[in-house]
């Protein structure tokens, strides 16, 4: 069985499917960050804005991905574009929720103190809020990244390629090797994503916060 699974990885079409999957996930994540972060920044100080963002985020999480695909098809047709739209829509909620929550939960006393010291709104954002919220924001991006890598399998339904093609192909086969190969490849990708973004998260946590976390405050 193991050798049969490895044989699938050696297939000539496997590198292309892997590449399609990675590219789709990456682009979807980048676009999602590009959309979610500015929105989170804009609403960071208004209570109503935050409530709206979080509710939209929660609804977005609940919408079935296939429904988004079906909506995108008449506008963008078969292929990469429709799959991208669907995946981006799915990738936005975790980032939006975490970013807006993270920014809002920066200790009000700290911000007060900063204002007292004469820092402008923009300076507060750049030097206080963002660094403090960074771990939470990156946790959101990490969650979204892993989820996107796993969900990119649905691109197979709309001609977007990716490892989902292998899973669907293997589903109708007599033996489970092709199916397992596709599923294992996605799982490995997801794990790499989790570990990679975890490292990124640690890199972006300000030193002061790391110390505070270690001291248990």
């Amino acid at each position: 069985m193991l050798s049969n699974i490895l044989e699938v990885f050696a297939r000539p079409d496997f590198p292309e499917k892997l590449r399609e999957h990675v590219v789709l996930s990456l682009v979807a994540l980048l676009v999602a960050v590009a959309i979610a972060m500015p929105v989170a920044l804009m609403i960071r100080n208004t209570r109503l804005g935050a409530a709206i963002a979080i509710n939209i985020g929660n609804v977005g999480r609940a919408v079935p991905s296939l429904a988004i695909l079906a909506l995108a098809l008449p506008l963008l047709g078969i292929g990469f574009a429709s799959a991208l739209v669907a995946l981006t829509a799915l990738a936005i909620p975790p980032i939006l929720i975490n970013a807006s929550t993270g920014l809002r939960e920066v200790n009000k006393d700290v911000i007060d103190a900063a204002r007292g010291m004469g820092l402008s709104g923009g300076q507060i954002l750049a030097r206080i809020q963002l660094p403090i919220a960074a771990p939470v924001i990156f946790a959101g991006i990490r969650t979204s990244a892993v989820q996107t890598v796993a969900s990119a399998t649905l691109a197979t339904f709309i001609g977007g390629g990716g490892l989902g093609d292998l899973i669907v192909e293997g589903y109708s086969e007599r033996g489970p090797e092709i199916l397992l190969a596709g599923a294992i490849a996605v799982a490995i990708l997801a794990i790499i994503t989790e570990v990679g973004f975890g490292a990124l998260e640690r890199a972006f946590t300000p030193k002061g916060l790391k110390i505070a976390q270690k001291r248990g405050r």
């Binding site: 098809l73 008449p74 078969i78 709309i158 001609g159 989902g164 192909e169 589903y171 007599r174």
Partner: protein
């Protein structure tokens, strides 16, 4: 926690709870359709594979059994052929609708190319023989009198412009055309590789893989592809926007629908064979296409379509 915050947080929780309750109350969670006939009598469980024609055939068999002294239970949408077959062999279902050619390609240890069997009868006999040798043994009952084979179809406008009527002409023209296919067809031995072997001029400009039948047909309609592959009983093929290419070399096996039943079930309840055969014999190509169309195009429920059909034919009342 402020009271207002508690309230705001309670609302989504309440909504989730309510919708879960609704879903459970409605009974059908997930893809598996399980409906019980409610009649008394021995329970016969009818399975099906995961596409429309299978839902209809499975429902028909379950309802016919239910009206004939059995408790017909339908467990539709189990999955692909290997999955349905596993369920059959380990007793989770008692029968399901298969196709003669498909069984030789996907399930049975047939040594040889099923496409070389040159009649529906020969195909059926080969399958029946192999099914009987299994453990537990199965019986493939009398097939329906029509062939649900692969159909390679071209958009009418393209077919007219390039004067395409059969697969040979299509192969010659293929380097200008885009083919919308699906993974199983591209990789199964009786699918695309079979086409290429027999019509070697085949060389599509582009092949798009879209693993969803409805989206494939939509893609063709919107012009994102020129050529598609489906099954000859697809409801969508009643449209005059698509032309099915003739296959002069007859490259595909015969795929006649035939229910496969575990032999121990038939031994215990011989009447089952008679009931199922009556349903199978009543079917035809145009009828099947029409019924499929009712589900896929008119969004009707497969169970209702099956019931209507059986009542019309007088098989149930």
């Amino acid at each position: 926690m402020k009271n207002r915050t508690k309230l705001i947080r309670a609302v989504p929780a309440l909504l989730t709870g309510l919708s879960l309750l609704l879903v459970v109350a409605c009974g059908n969670v997930g893809g598996t359709d399980s409906s019980s006939g409610g009649s008394s009598g021995p329970t016969i469980t009818v399975g099906s594979k995961d596409f429309t024609e299978q839902f209809i055939l499975g429902s028909m068999y379950a309802q016919a059994l239910d009206a004939n002294g059995f408790n017909g239970v339908a467990k539709l949408d189990l999955g692909s052929a290997p999955i349905a077959d596993k369920a059959l062999q380990n007793g989770q279902i008692d029968l399901y609708p298969e196709y003669t050619g498909t069984s030789l390609v996907e399930i049975l240890p047939y040594k040889g190319n099923p496409a070389d069997l040159n009649s529906p009868r020969a195909t059926y006999e080969a399958a029946k023989k192999l099914y009987a040798k299994r453990s537990p043994a199965d019986k493939m009952l009398t097939p329906a009198p029509f062939n649900n084979t692969y159909g390679i179809f071209v958009r009418s406008s393209v077919a007219e412009k390039d004067d395409l009527t059969n697969m040979d002409e299509l192969a010659q023209d293929s380097k200008n055309l885009t083919f919308i296919s699906f993974s199983q067809f591209q990789n199964r031995s009786d699918g695309y590789p079979n086409m290429q072997k027999n019509y070697p001029a085949l060389d599509f400009e582009e092949i798009k893989i879209v693993n969803n039948l409805g989206l494939r047909y939509s893609g063709l309609q919107s012009g994102e592809g020129d050529v598609g592959v489906g099954f000859t009983t697809d409801g969508q093929l009643t449209s005059d926007q698509l032309v099915v290419m003739e296959d002069p070399k007859s490259i595909w096996p015969f795929y006649h629908p035939a229910p496969v039943v575990r032999s121990d079930v038939l031994k215990k309840y011989p009447k089952v064979e008679k009931v199922l055969n009556e349903v199978t014999a009543s079917l035809g190509l145009d009828t099947m296409r029409e019924l499929n169309g009712k589900v896929d195009l008119d969004q009707e429920d497969p169970e209702d379509v099956a019931k209507e059909y059986l009542e019309e034919k007088g098989i149930i009342d």
